[in-house]
């Protein structure tokens, strides 16, 4: 018996009701999605995002290409019209920068010697990939861009992105040829920074406006208007010292940063293939209980076992011996008495001070 021939043949559900039921069902699905996603990097929907972006990215690139060509053409024409004034300005800047260049060379030399003397292991040079911005998302809730390099060229989630002026953002999603870059101004962006003048630490927090906030500034008076803000490298996500901007007071009284990257268009960027040192070890290893690595140590050789048992026996004998009277121990601690000690009691003390090395730093 067909449904229309049954007892429900005269029942007609108003279209408004069916639409309302559809709305409710779809809304419940959206709430569940909202709870389960929240733009987290380990979101289960990240492959879906990467798939859509790998399709929409080239489409955006088609629209971005004429804009870029027009920009190049206007720069080409403008170069003729403003060649003289530009030449004068560049000469003036060059004259101002000459002393800075000499000073930088001298400081680099001194710094290299300090690093050699102190045995500091400097950070290795960071490889870079140049990319073009092909799509731009603005607004209060998201500030992100698509760029035209991806995991096929070694770009990974977390890589910092810079332009010729300073830090722009970081990579939050990759597909083989397209990457999603989250800008410093995004409401979800958090970047550990330092104030160059005072070395004070703070957190650069985006809020969707053009000038992100400086939050959790440590120390009273550690920030002044005009202070240079750099990446601190804390947490290992960014290399230390990447220029970010200049501190300024916002109209709401909070400290904000005028970004260097806003001095020019963010059309061409460079992705720093910087390895976060937190990625060098698995999180499970960091959370392992103390001495868990003892299970992986090779068995002790007979010589090592003998040394360990000897040390344990000596420690047990010392613990069993009653403590000596303080008056009796006082002369033994006197420097004048130390030459009288037997060599066996102080094997680490050299008889004579070590000779200075011929390759010393004097």
């Amino acid at each position: 018996m067909a449904f229309r021939d049954g007892p429900f043949e005269n029942i007609k559900v108003p279209l408004v009701w069916t639409a309302a039921v559809t709305v409710v069902v779809a809304a419940v699905g959206c709430v569940l999605l909202l709870i389960s996603d929240a733009r987290a990097q380990n979101s289960p929907y990240q492959p879906v995002r990467a798939g859509v972006e790998s399709v929409s990215g080239p489409v955006g690139g088609v629209f971005a290409a004429p804009v870029r060509w027009f920009g190049h053409a206007s720069d080409y024409v403008g170069g003729y019209f403003f060649a003289v004034s530009e030449n004068r300005r560049l000469k003036r800047e060059l004259a101002e920068l000459q002393p800075w260049r000499d000073q930088a060379i001298a400081l680099k030399n001194v710094n290299a010697r300090y690093e050699a003397m102190l045995g500091i292991r400097p950070e290795p040079p960071v490889a870079m990939r140049t990319a073009r911005s092909i799509s731009d998302t603005r607004g209060p809730f998201s500030n992100a861009r698509l760029i035209d390099v991806g995991s096929a060229k070694g770009v990974k989630v977390g890589n910092p992105v810079i332009n010729e002026h300073g830090l722009v953002g970081r990579i939050v999603g990759t597909s083989p040829n397209i990457s999603r870059m989250l800008l410093l101004t995004d409401v979800a962006s958090r970047t550990p920074v330092l104030v160059d003048r005072t070395d004070a630490r703070a957190l650069l927090t985006g809020d969707g406006s053009g000038n992100p906030r400086l939050e959790f500034v440590r120390g009273a008076g550690s920030v002044q208007a005009g202070d240079r803000i750099l990446s601190s490298g804390d947490g290992g996500g960014f290399p230390r010292g990447v220029p970010i901007g200049v501190a300024a007071k916002g109209i709401d009284g909070s400290w904000r940063v005028k970004l260097f990257s806003d001095r020019g268009a963010i059309d061409y960027v460079r992705v720093m293939l910087f390895e976060d040192f937190g990625q060098l070890i698995g999180p499970d290893d960091l959370n392992a209980p103390p001495l868990a690595a003892l299970d992986t140590v090779a068995a002790a050789t007979p010589a090592q076992a003998a040394a360990i048992s000897d040390a344990a026996a000596r420690r047990a004998a010392a613990a069993a011996t009653p403590p000596a009277q303080p008056a009796a121990r006082t002369p033994a601690r006197s420097p004048a008495q130390s030459p009288a000690q037997s060599p066996a009691q102080s094997p680490a003390q050299p008889a004579t001070p070590p000779a200075p090395s011929p390759g010393g730093t004097e």
Partner: protein, 172 residues
């Protein structure tokens, strides 16, 4: 002899699918990274037009589903949390659907006031949801810079309603 009258049936392709595709295309075009004298292209929330117009045109099962799909696509294109704009659009759709009998046939000014109120509600919902998710309320200036171009899209919503509200004689 009475001549037969041609009845024009407006299907979902005309008032749902084509406007949805136009909306997606316009969203992608406006995401082009253009910067001229330090100014960028405006970025209105274009599917808001459909969320307001579709329930006024006629109730439908397909429309809210397409609207949810548009919202999810917008969330991916703008790198927002999945479900944020879809939920906001569905809320607007349900509000307008509930007040459909009141809004039908109203003057343009009344419709604009309702459109503005719906936009305000959608942005308020998105603002609160993002504040909870990220722990940082977004800048109100930046919010106003997105609300304003979205309000300026009202003529498109009005045009859509005028075009399709009486397009199918079965819904007169």
């Amino acid at each position: 002899m009475r001549r037969p009258v041609a009845v024009r049936v407006v299907g979902p392709m005309q008032w749902i699918v084509y406007p949805a595709l136009i909306t997606v295309a316009a969203t992608i075009v406006l995401q082009t990274p253009v910067e001229l004298f330090g100014l960028h292209l405006p970025e209105p929330v274009i599917p808001m037009v459909l969320a307001f117009a579709w329930p006024l045109i006629r109730p439908s099962v397909l429309a809210p589903l397409v609207l949810a799909g548009l919202g999810l696509l917008l969330d991916i294109l703008t790198y927002g949390p999945l479900g944020l704009w879809a939920l906001a659009f569905l809320v607007i759709y349900s509000v307008v659907l509930a007040s459909r009998s009141f809004l039908a046939g109203q003057d343009t000014a009344v419709l604009f006031v309702w459109y503005a109120a719906c936009c305000g509600l959608a942005f308020l919902l998105a603002y609160l949801a993002m504040a909870v998710i990220t722990g940082m309320p977004a800048s109100l200036i930046s919010l106003a810079l997105q609300v304003a171009p979205t309000l300026l899209l009202f003529p498109f919503a009005h045009r859509l309603i005028e075009r399709f509200e009486d397009g199918d004689v079965r819904f007169r």
